[in-house]
């Protein structure tokens, strides 16, 4: 107790004096604090030994800890600890965790997958991730597509067919849509007639007389539209020609035009310029068969699957 009293009553200084009278109070650190500091120093030294931390020549000293992982060529590699090796290890682990699911995907039919509640969760998450990584740059998040560029995958209209098998085929092998240019074959009036006819097919405001002329032209060998789009203008999925009688548009920005004239003009543009841009890359070499299967079910579930 007496010691305590002394402490609280005498003012201690560090014993140094500058400029004659400038002194510093001595407020010593508690011992436990100092020990904690020593522990952090010891921790740092151990850390230096275990992890790469020192530059050495052109490289660095790797440290004692190491990471073993399997690289993409299937070789097992052991590397001193670094974040890249750590990533490889984690990716391997994630792959291993997903493997049972992908194995299940491989062994089940599309319908079975779609009806299994457990797999449903997997498709929704894994399919979404795969879609976002690979497909969303063109087809947009959620598969909503972009008029004039990339088809909307959430509607019920399919250029090449929307069954599981067709979707899988499209993803695996890719597609290349093409329509010839008609500006050199037909006169502007003829193209206008055709555009009015196409507009009439899906109930858009049009000029009846022009549409009648367009109807004749459509089925004549001059324009030969029926050759690809079919005599009923419903398109042919074997070659990916569009169904002109439905309300879904991909190449002509009909929904974007406010007036009937604008809509017809949008159709006219496509007829006169043709198309050579409906290119879907092949994914067969880039994604595994199971990944494509997951994507197939996911795209089918986006709303348009047949």
């Amino acid at each position: 107790m007496s010691e305590q009293k002394l402490q609280s009553q005498t003012v201690q200084t560090t014993g140094h004096a500058w400029d004659g009278d400038l002194q510093e109070y001595n407020n010593p650190l508690p011992v436990w604090w100092v020990y904690t500091f020593y522990v952090t120093v010891a921790f740092a030294i151990i850390y230096w030994i275990i992890y790469p931390s020192w530059p050495f020549g052109k490289g660095w000293i790797g440290g004692l800890s190491s990471i073993t992982y399997v690289n993409s060529d299937g070789e097992t590699k052991t590397h001193s600890w670094n974040t890249r090796a750590l990533l490889m290890e984690k990716l391997n682990k994630a792959d291993a965790e997903q493997k049972p699911y992908f194995d299940k995907v491989a062994s089940m039919s599309y319908e079975q997958i779609a009806k299994d509640p457990d797999m449903n969760g997997f498709i929704l998450s894994a399919g979404k991730a795969l879609f976002s990584d690979n497909c969303a740059p063109c087809h947009q998040q959620g598969g909503q597509g972009k008029i004039g560029f990339f088809p909307n995958l959430t509607d019920d209209d399919w250029l090449y067919g929307g069954t599981y098998a067709k979707i899988n085929e499209t993803i695996t092998n890719g597609r290349h849509g093409y329509m010839p240019t008609f500006s050199e074959v037909l006169s502007p009036e003829q193209i206008d007639d055709l555009a009015n006819y196409v507009a009439s097919l899906s109930g858009i405001g049009h000029d009846a007389a022009k549409a009648a002329a367009g109807n004749t032209l459509f089925h004549s060998d001059t324009a030969a539209c029926y050759y690809c789009h079919g005599a009923d203008a419903k398109g042919r999925q074997v070659i990916g020609s569009a169904n002109l009688t439905d309300k879904v548009w991909l190449w002509a920005d009909v929904p974007g035009a406010d007036t009937a004239e604008g809509k017809v003009a949008a159709i006219r543009t496509v007829i006169s310029n043709g198309l050579n841009k409906g290119v879907m890359p092949t994914w067969g070499g880039r994604l595994s068969a199971e990944q494509i299967k997951v994507l197939t079910v996911y795209v089918h579930e986006l709303g348009g699957g047949q």
Binding site: M1, E3, Q4, K5, S8, Q12, T13, T14, G15, H16, A17, G20, N26, P28, L29, P30, V31, W32, W33, V34, A114, K115, P117, N120, G121, L124, Q140, Q141, G142, G143, Q144, N152, T154, D155, D156, D157, G203, I204, N243, D246, K247, V248, P255, D258, E301, G303
Partner: protein, 478 residues
Amino acid sequence: MQTGLEEQVALYQKRIPIFTRSVKGRFRRFKTSVLVFAYAMFFLLPWLPWARSDAPSQAVLFDLPGRRFLIFGLTVYPQDVLWLALLLFIAAILLFFVTGLVGRAFCGYFCFQTLWTDFFIWIEQKIQGERPARIRLYRQPWDREKVLKVGGTHFAWLLASFWTGMTFAAYFAYAPQLVVDFVTGQAAAAAYITAGVLTVSTYAAAGLMREQICTYVCPYGRFQSVMYEADTLAVHYDARRGEGAHGRASARAGQRALAERHEKGLGDCVDCGLCVQVCPTGIDIRDGLQYKCISCGLCIDACNTIMDSFGYPRGLIRYDSEKNLAAAVPAKPRVEWKRLKTIGYGVALILMTSFLVYSVSTRGSYDRTVNQIRLPLYVVLSNGDIRNRYQIHITNKAGQEQTYVISARGVPAGALDLGSFQEITVKPGHSGTVLASVRLSPELAARTKHFELIITPRGKPAEARSETVRFDSPGRPT
């Protein structure tokens, strides 16, 4: 020029060992009962059985892998994080409220640090004896007796620390199984790490650092001063009464009776030092209120014992407010709650607590969220129909598997399409997702802005909940 070098100045503050004397009295009894109650709760709770169908039969189980807390009949899921927020808020307000009224009541009686230190001191005293014996032992060279007694104390501390850590780990796994696994080396690494870290930290905090935790580590001890007011009750030494005109003095012959003392101008404090000897933080309360005092009241018990033995009135050291001590005629100390701040805290406390109780008691057996899929907002189908899609997420919070049926109100029959899942069965504590789509003709779509999705647990129509959702359409005629 340098001066003062001849005086040896320590570079670091050395811990002054504290040997507390045991004491009997009101506050000691209160402290002990809190300790016994708290220990019984902490150490026995994980062993309390509770019938459960889908989880180990343990009344309180923090099931981290299952992402839920099982607390008796209540299951708390991560989405109930609001409850945790409320609980923390209530705890904070309660602390402010109590501190404003009676100072550091928490520190002295309820804080883990206090409870465990108290228990460790009790062990120390049982092995090494009362204060004088412990001081003697401390000064004694390291002979057989000292090694045995001090070693034994530390061993007992380590055992107590280990069981503390073990018990903590038992809240996160089925306790009987955990203990068996632990001994046979089969338990999860997390169990060993948890028990290990808690053993070491308990041993260090309650055995070695003790009051240093309160004075250097604990932030509450530092900021509680802002919650003190002149009306706040705290442990005070009544200096006016204790010191008199000429200060404290021992009760020698001739100054033993109170009348004699007052005649000589002496205070009531007989300078026995007992209040200092019992203090777990090693301070002298007679120096005035200080930040190291944890308000444990042991010095009150000590002083009252002395006062009783001399036949003086009790309460030389007592819970009192600064205001009352300074008053010309001190009144009986009492809790002053009629202040804006305390009333404010009190109201907040009542509001938050009722909200929490309401929220817990009205919880449903399942959680649902319905999100409209916004990419794209709507789809025009080939025949011109408009389709909107919704993601329905159902979390089953009930104890058993449940099937949920989904229906729609406000749209024609047949407009709702649930794809492959007409209804969904969800395991307890799990979630399921259903994609629903609603398809309307353009005319109907233009008229429909909202409709309702209804989720009904099968067999429990009373628990059906509906959710109003938007229906989006192009907005301009095609």
